[in-house]
């Protein structure tokens, strides 16, 4: 008996609350208060939920790889939003037009330009010096600027693909798993058809055949054109290259949904039989509420991990497609495309492969580290053990 208790004590290490814990507590409290502004009494009614969030944050704070991932991801998102405006040079300013030595200039070099251009029917002449901290590409563009602008392309594709693809997959999976019968059969057969293709191959085939149709659509819908240009932070003259860019977007959505349908259906099937769903049905709640308010929150954990990892996966696949010359075409800033340019001049122009490659690896690693950490954090068992381990700074009472 005494042995057992000793083991109990050995496992029970206690942590002091660190600064990070306090920061995360404050952030979560602020967020809860923010929601309370719109929904009356939200914070008090959802006390236990807020408490769970805090415990999740404690678990995150105690896992350095996940924290590292989170930091990388936040930096990626910030650069993705502000990158095009932070870039010292516009992505479609081609110094090689004014000085041929700007082509593939090595990192650290700078090039003197004597620019002559026509603007508003006036000939403008000026001289300027371009510094290349990370070298230049084939058209003499500053690699750093293109990388910063390319972050926007990557982020927009990433976020929209993940917003649309998995959502379709999850909804279809919920419906398929909950209703069963013929609906299930039809949805799952269609899913199987799409799962039969390897993702990369289907994406290649689709992004090869789609651009024409999309370009055609964009040319007839001016508003859509402007919207897409604004979202990607592109200049109006790139309008004819949008077809290829959006083809990748649609191709990857088509590739990305079936996996989620299968996973969601599996967990919905087991959850459908549980008591709380039975109770919700007995009360007479509409099916929509049961599906999205009762079943979905209970199966979302593994799906959330999958989504986080797939943020990285989308970046990899998208850059891979543009490496093959299928996605964004040269004036559009894109990481995969830079590697494609550098590949033709490897190893002389090593920086065109090395720096975009490093950026891609870092961002994808960030998402993967975060996803790997989330797997533990979202596990309720971790939270329960956290509950007793984290000590409030003042006294011996563990928070509950």
């Amino acid at each position: 008996m005494s042995d057992l208790r000793k083991e109990d004590y050995e496992e029970k290490e206690e942590y002091e609350m660190s600064i990070l814990d306090k920061i995360s507590d404050k952030l979560i409290d602020a967020f809860a208060s923010f929601i309370t502004l719109f929904r009356k009494d939200w914070k008090r009614r959802n006390q236990s939920k807020v408490q769970e969030w805090k415990l999740m944050a404690y678990a995150l704070n105690r896992s350095p790889p996940a924290l590292l991932g989170l930091v990388i991801v936040i930096i990626y998102i910030i650069i993705g939003i502000f990158g095009p405006y932070l870039a010292p040079w516009r992505y479609n300013f081609f110094p090689v037009m004014y000085n041929s030595t700007a082509k593939l200039a090595p990192p650290g070099s700078s090039v003197f330009l004597n620019v002559t251009m026509v603007k508003n029917w006036h000939v403008i002449q000026y001289t300027t010096t371009v510094h290349y901290p990370l070298g230049s590409d084939l058209t003499g563009r500053d690699l750093l600027s293109v990388l910063l602008a390319g972050a926007r392309t990557a982020l927009v594709l990433d976020v929209f693909i993940i917003l649309i693809g998995p959502t379709i997959g999850i909804i279809l999976g919920l419906i398929s798993g909950y209703y069963g019968g013929k609906i299930d059969e039809v949805i799952m057969r269609i899913t199987d058809m799409f799962l039969a293709f390897p993702g990369l191959i289907l994406a290649i085939a689709l992004s090869a055949v789609l651009p024409g149709r999309i370009q055609n659509f964009l040319n007839h819908h001016h508003l859509a054109q402007v919207l897409v240009l604004k979202i990607f932070a592109l200049q109006a003259r790139d309008v004819n290259n949008l077809g290829k860019l959006l083809a990748v977007f649609i191709a990857l959505i088509i590739v990305w949904w079936p996996g989620y349908t299968r996973v969601t259906r599996g967990s919905t099937l087991t959850e459908r039989e549980s008591l709380y769903v039975e109770a919700a049905r007995a009360v007479g709640l509409p099916k929509r509420t049961i599906l999205f308010k009762h079943i979905l929150p209970n199966i979302i954990g593994p799906i959330l991990v999958m989504i986080t990892m797939d943020f990285g996966g989308v970046i990899l696949t998208e850059a891979g497609l543009s490496f093959l010359g299928l996605g964004a075409v040269p004036p559009i800033p894109d990481w995969g495309n830079l590697i494609n340019q550098g590949a033709q001049y490897f190893p002389q122009a090593w920086w065109l492969v090395a720096f975009p490659g490093l950026v891609i690896v870092t961002v994808v690693l960030g998402w993967n580290l975060l996803g790997d950490g989330l797997r533990d954090i979202l596990d309720p068992r971790t939270r329960r053990s956290m509950e007793f381990k984290v000590k409030k700074a003042k006294g011996g009472e563990s928070n509950a």
Partner: protein
Amino acid sequence: MRLFPFLSFLFLTSYNVGGGINMAGLGKFLVRRAFTFIPTLIGVTLIVFIIAYVIPANPVRAWAGGEKATQAAIELIKKEYHLDQPWYDQYWFLVKGLFTNSLIDPLNQMPVFTNIGNRFVVTFQLALFAFFFVVLMGLPLGIISAIKRNSLTDMILRILALIFISTPIYVIAYLFIWLFFIHWNLTSLAGIPPAPKHQITHIPVIDSIITLNWNNFVEQVQRFWLPGFTLGIAAAGVLMRFTRNSFLEAYSRDSTLFLKAKGVPKMGIYKHVLKNALVPVITILALQFGGLLAGTPITETIFNLPGIGLYALQAVMYLDFPALIGVTFLYAIVFVTANLIADILYAIVDPRVRF
């Protein structure tokens, strides 16, 4: 062998086979699986057809020789590919072409699957080399990581696996080319070594081993080891993580506690755990081989290997849609077959699975 006694187990994969499998049950299982195979196959042809149908610009002009093509030639090609017919006729033409190999590649006037057959050998050999590296790296590192769980070694190995997964082929390939080709000159990157004289399996590297053609074997390895290694890196990372989880899952079973109580030494316990842990790993290996076969386009482009991945990309470039359709269809078949083999392997290896 004394150093890693637990590794000796890797070479005995057929440990459970025959332990009470019901052959009749397996037969029934196969028949049932085949029936679900058919709708998937029809669906695959449908999707392939839609892909072909979406083609916007008429590629016929390009096939007929660009701007200078005469109207008569264009009409002839349109007729040959049934492009002037309604969609159901086009679909029927396509399906018939896929199953009877009468779909002609407009670029070299050969049946598409004849072209693919010539190139598939290269892709298969590439996937074989990649698979070798995947097993060589993934399994031992995953097992070491599980045995030393929650230690520094484990943490380093886990992060290494994540880096493997996060590094795209098109980045790591150039790093390796710089290291192994330009710096140390350990590989050759030009051409394709000829197949050995006596062909038995038609896979050059296996043939050269069987016929003991040492020179040819060295040539094949020199050309293929680096592309294979590059292709296998990501899959090795996945396998490492999978093996680790599977090992830990098997380790946390009650049987381990019993072995501990019995006083079995650590190595003995690991041997028992490994037996249970490798059951799911074997099935994932079949899936991974399918994934490697499908993941070749980028590797083949970088290393200039004339396989089906490169064929697909060339088809995209030249608007050669019969070829693209053929390759896509073949990939789907390969992938579905890999899934099927994984299911069957699982059923054979794990005696608890009921057919």
